[in-house]
Point group: C2
Chain length 365, copies 2
């Protein structure tokens, strides 16, 4: 069977490498691996999650409830919006985004994304026949190039993606810049706040004044639940209602549901995760800054990118050298808008941070 044209043009699927393969290839003990590749919370989930899951595990033969109002209310409380301004997704923010696209995008519509930014937007949008228009993220100042967005606007612009803090560069977008864009367009402006808890400011208040703002959030970062696949979106209630018409009804697993509720109630866990996350980030930033030949961008997130060109290694080569010593980092070569000399590292425990910095020094010098 021939797939549709948009799919035929995508790269063939190559499965990722499993942890097992890495362990075997480099003869590393699994527990010695330092994972700096996926921007996770290294301290694990809230202890309340374990209890909640234990209490629910005997019911997993039953479908999830289609009524998620309790979780919607808790999220609304947490985020400072109304419950009918919340939509919850069962594959992290990815499903929320897919539902948003399915609700609004038609073939031939354009979407704008500054480069470099999160690459998954394009992966999700292309199968719907949407056309990417690239703006620019200024790497020197680590700020959004607002004019590059304004200059990319056309009659066909349907969505604009602003990631704040921006993945992979780590900086937030300032609110005046977002307003400038909002005032210039009727397109939907998606503000991806996956990492917002690590930043100094969020943009949730824009929902009150603009009907075309959509904020994307996740339980995969500070909340420590990446493996449970929980995300949410915040927007005016009309947009949310339209999305509900097509969103999968049962996609959040029973265990994910109770895990999300338990985490939101554990305020101490969330606070601690933020404090420890910032500590770890600052320690890594200071440490990397002191290493000759490396240039690291200041971040308000739980990750940072490092320009490695002066080391003589490409990002691919350096990642491989680190992998041999049990450290997984993100080779950013596949990020459009970055050349082959950038790696991204995420926070780990303080102990792992120190180990990593020593390994990095050793490899680079």
């Amino acid at each position: 069977m021939n797939p549709k044209k948009a799919v035929l043009e995508l790269d063939p699927y190559v499965p990722g490498r499993s942890k097992e393969e890495i362990v075997n290839e480099f003869n590393i003990n699994e527990k010695d691996i330092i994972k700096l590749g996926s921007n996770e919370n290294p301290w694990g989930p809230s202890s309340k999650v374990k209890t909640a899951i234990l209490n629910e595990v005997d019911n997993v033969n039953r479908y999830p409830e289609s009524d998620l109002t309790k979780l919607e209310s808790e999220i609304a409380n947490y985020a400072g919006v109304k419950p009918n301004q919340v939509i919850i997704g069962g594959d992290g923010a990815d499903e929320v985004l897919d539902s948003l696209i399915k609700t609004f995008i038609e073939p031939g519509d354009e979407f704008i994304v500054p480069l470099p930014s999160y690459t998954y937007y394009e992966f999700l949008l292309k199968p719907y026949g949407a056309i990417p228009i690239y703006g620019n993220w200024d790497l020197n100042s680590n700020t959004l190039d607002v004019d590059s967005i304004l200059n990319s606007l056309s009659d066909k612009t349907k969505m604009i993606f602003l990631c704040s803090p921006n993945n992979p560069t780590g900086a937030v977008i300032n609110e005046e810049d977002i307003k400038t864009i909002l005032d210039a367009t009727n397109a939907l402006v998606i503000i991806d706040e996956a990492y917002i808890e690590y930043a100094e400011s969020n943009h949730v208040n824009l929902i009150k004044d603009y009907s075309n703002v959509f904020i994307l959030r996740t339980f995969s970062k500070v909340m420590g639940l990446a493996g449970m696949r929980i995300g949410y979106g915040l927007s005016n209630s009309e947009n949310i209602e339209y999305m509900h018409r097509i969103k999968p009804v049962f996609s959040l697993t029973r265990l994910s549901y109770v895990a999300a509720l338990a985490t939101l109630k554990d305020k101490k866990f969330i606070e601690d995760s933020i404090i420890k996350g910032k500590e770890s980030r600052d320690l890594l930033y200071e440490g990397v800054s002191k290493i000759n030949k490396l240039h690291v961008l200041k971040s308000q997130s739980n990750f940072m990118v490092i320009d490695v060109r002066e080391t003589g290694f490409t990002a691919n080569e350096l990642s491989y050298e680190l992998l041999k010593k049990g450290v997984i980092v993100r080779d950013c070569t596949s990020f459009k808008g970055l050349d082959e000399y950038w790696i991204r590292i995420s926070i780990a425990t303080i102990e792992e941070d120190k180990k990593f910095l020593n390994i990095l020094k050793e490899v680079v010098n």
Copy 2:
């Protein structure tokens, strides 16, 4: 923001009723509710699932592995195909189906579905701009009206949905009929085998001879994992590879992954679930058959539909009477192709079956 036309035409979203609401409205003890509405496995998940989840729960801060080859192999073994003929979904069969649609469907394509059949196909297809063409399921003989499918074929037919055993009528489609359809078209023939373990025969061998066969399966029924949202598809490896290009990478939660593996290894649990399921079905069929004014269709699944028109109740009224006594059944009024006089019941424990049959007799007579 205005959504696209296909979404604007869908019914506005109305959230479902929670179990809590039912408990409060009818003043019923939650543990006394008999759930015959959702075709679940009433005996719960395999005991091995609990252990597997406990062993994994501390890792839920980590993203799922993108490499699912171990589970693909186990499923291939179980289903009798090759591992590269398997694709796994993280929202039960619904996500597999959504990925299939996203891979092959373009706006204006037609899909054929006999009525009555599973209503979710249409829910998933319409947002992609696909057009439903309705065939016919003969309720008198409880068989697929093959000619109605053949007569619906056109140049625009892209998919044909054959549910076997058919939801909600319970009968399987015989293989000669499927071959007649396959020989008449190049469209993708999707055979939905969600309930296949309760039936006498499956159609998996058709994959060998036809490149346009796609078989849909789930862990939500016999496997007892509806709340964990695990589904899979079987087809030739080329179709599977195309789907992988657009399928969500991380949609299966970490706990769902280990639960699926543990269940497939627990052969005894699967066998027992099938035996007990058939026993319960046969007991319900015999019991309902003996009640005057009710006509029940013979089923090879874990559910059956009942024509209730002679009771003087509509399905909606009868469902409400049963709900007052703590029994949840499926009012089939929303199934296209059934009028307002059908309910569907699914298997429960033998004790619940007997209780239900007594309540049903009482309400009907």
